[in-house]
């Protein structure tokens, strides 16, 4: 292995109580998606670039997962720092990946101890709807707790001004290929949301980024942590994506998610309960909660469009956003449908 990478990896593994393997067979390069160094004309900071390593133990079992990026990539360095600071909280440390980040000549590594648990995405295949609801409630409560620690422990994340759903979502909404009526209804919901206190979100909380290890939930992939501060974003993303995994193994929904949320079965009542609990925890009114839900749908779709994803990838989220827009323009009071408790005000 190249000296710079060996130095960085050895130092990172040393922080995790281990050392660089001397046996070449124990290092597997995977997801080799972008050159390091990043060529001058490419954008530094794109988390998709670089490569990852799987480091095996002497016995040939996975021991560490290592993300390797250009040393100028601020995203990777930020994630290492975020995890270091969040891990200072003894309450949430057990729920975070055990990681160490080191920068060396031209390269930086983020080594994470391999977690031998089961992905939530796989667990969902065998879960009942009751188990699904309880798991999503636990996970979103955990994400909120981590967000609170982030607010206190990472003061640079704290933005001075409140989160304005319309101002933040306007540009993304303009990207969506929807009818003018759907755009107008969506814009009206964002405007009605007004502003809300910003709250640091994980930013990509979906069943593939959650592991159950020895009875403990652990969240992965903190590269977007705090970059998204839209209240309710994580709760919406996890509820939507886990519903998709529960019903179809992640292959899309036959009935739009917003229609499931209206229902009176466990999926509907459970989904509304998750959103309501998170809205209360983040101090939202019914208008703000609807604004947060609509902002999530718009932003999640626009994110894929901005990345240049294939139509079969963004078509599902776009259908969800359009279904929400149709519900909004049907004249139904979505606040009453989804968040009646919030309309009644605090008990």
């Amino acid at each position: 292995m190249n000296q710079a990478l060996a130095t960085a990896l050895d130092a990172a593994l040393h922080q995790l109580g281990d050392a660089l393997p001397s046996d070449w067979r124990r290092i597997v390069m995977i997801k080799n998606d972008g050159p390091i160094p990043v060529p001058r004309h490419d954008v530094i900071g794109d988390a998709a670039r670089g490569f990852n390593l799987l480091v095996l133990s002497d016995a040939g079992e996975p021991a560490y997962y290592v993300r390797c990026r250009d040393s100028r990539d601020t995203t990777a360095a930020r994630e290492a720092e975020v995890l270091r600071r969040l891990s200072e909280s003894p309450d949430i440390r057990p729920h975070l990946p055990e990681s160490a980040g080191i920068r060396a000549d031209g390269i930086q590594v983020l080594a994470t101890r391999y977690m031998d648990g089961q992905l939530f995405a796989h667990l969902l295949r065998k879960m009942s709807q009751d188990e699904w609801r309880d798991a999503v409630l636990e996970l979103t409560a955990l994400a909120t707790a981590i967000g609170r620690v982030g607010q206190a422990g990472l003061p640079e994340l704290a933005r001075a001004e409140p989160f304005d759903f319309w101002r933040e979502g306007e540009e993304s909404l303009a990207l969506l290929p929807m009818s003018s009526e759907q755009i107008a209804a969506t814009a009206a919901a964002l405007r009605a949301g007004g502003t809300a206190p910003p709250f640091p979100q994980h930013g990509d909380l979906w069943p593939g980024n959650v592991i159950r290890e020895k009875g403990v939930w652990r969240l992965l992939d903190f590269d977007l942590f705090g970059r998204v501060e839209a209240p309710l974003f994580d709760a919406c993303h996890l509820t939507f994506t886990s519903t998709e995994y529960l019903l179809s193994g992640g292959h899309g929904l036959d009935t739009p998610w917003i229609r499931h949320l209206e229902g009176h079965d466990i999926l509907g009542r459970g989904g509304r309960e998750v959103l309501r609990q998170n809205a209360v925890a983040q101090g939202l009114s019914a208008d703000q909660a609807v604004g947060g839900l609509v902002y999530y749908l718009v932003e999640a779709t626009a994110r894929l469009l901005r990345k240049g994803a294939q139509p079969d990838v963004w078509r599902g989220p776009l259908t969800e956003t359009a279904a929400a827009a149709d519900l909004l323009r049907s004249g139904a009071d979505v606040r009453k449908v989804l968040f009646p408790e919030l309309l009644r005000g605090p008990a």
Binding site: N2, R25, M29, I30, P35, P37, G50, L56
Partner: protein, 206 residues
């Protein structure tokens, strides 16, 4: 004899090969490869100077003794279809031009996948990984290593040591969700990992 100096690297992640190698320095490298091969371009950012010569220019290599840190032979099956003597000569010349501790990298199509990836395929063009390792050892290279390359020889999205556990866990990590992919870890676990990957590479150090 033509020596082409490489100055504008194409953007391909295959250049990350260099992070797995341990040449004594990263000053000068030589790639022996057919025309249009991308390897010289993609490793260029890692060395002060990278040159490419064609497969016909190796007897002798146009480089003084002990001048290089890395020699890479790319697409062996295209360089010398079935001519093991060519490989012997190329490795002997590589040994001459490499510094102490210098590194040679040989990439080639896995014979099991050759029908799909080699132009004008025929069994006589195949070189096995075992044979390349033997040639490296015979030329005096030590600290030998060998890898599989996935998903195809030139695009090294995965570089996997040819060790059973490495292939099993690579497959578990990369292919769990697809229908066919579910059987790949089993194939690896049964020791038939050589069937899974289109590309191979061998590495030796002086």
């Amino acid at each position: 004899m033509s020596v082409e100096l490489i100055s504008s690297p194409p953007v391909l992640a295959a250049g990350n090969w260099v992070w797995l190698l341990a040449p004594p320095r990263q000053e000068s490298a030589l790639v022996i490869a057919p025309d249009q091969d991308a390897l010289a371009g993609v490793i260029a950012p890692h060395f002060a100077e990278v040159a490419r010569v064609g497969p016909g220019d190796i007897r002798p290599l146009p480089v003084p003794d002990s001048a290089l840190d890395l020699v890479a032979i790319s697409r062996l099956e295209e360089c010398a279809p079935g001519e093991i003597a060519w490989l012997s000569d190329a490795l002997a010349e590589s040994r001459r031009v490499l510094r102490d501790g210098g590194c040679v990298l040989v990439t080639f199509v896995n014979p099991f996948w050759a029908r799909r990836y080699v132009r004008g395929w025929g069994p006589e063009r195949l070189v096995t990984r075992r044979r390349v390792l033997d040639e490296l050892a015979g030329a005096g290279f030590r600290r030998l290593a060998s890898y599989y390359i996935q998903p195809f020889p030139e695009a090294a999205s995965s570089i996997i040591p040819t060790w059973g556990p490495a292939t099993v866990h690579h497959e578990r990590m990369e292919h769990m969700s697809s229908a066919i992919g579910r059987y790949r870890p089993l194939v690896a676990r049964l020791g038939a990992h050589a069937l899974l990957y289109p590309g191979c590479a061998c590495v030796g150090y002086l």
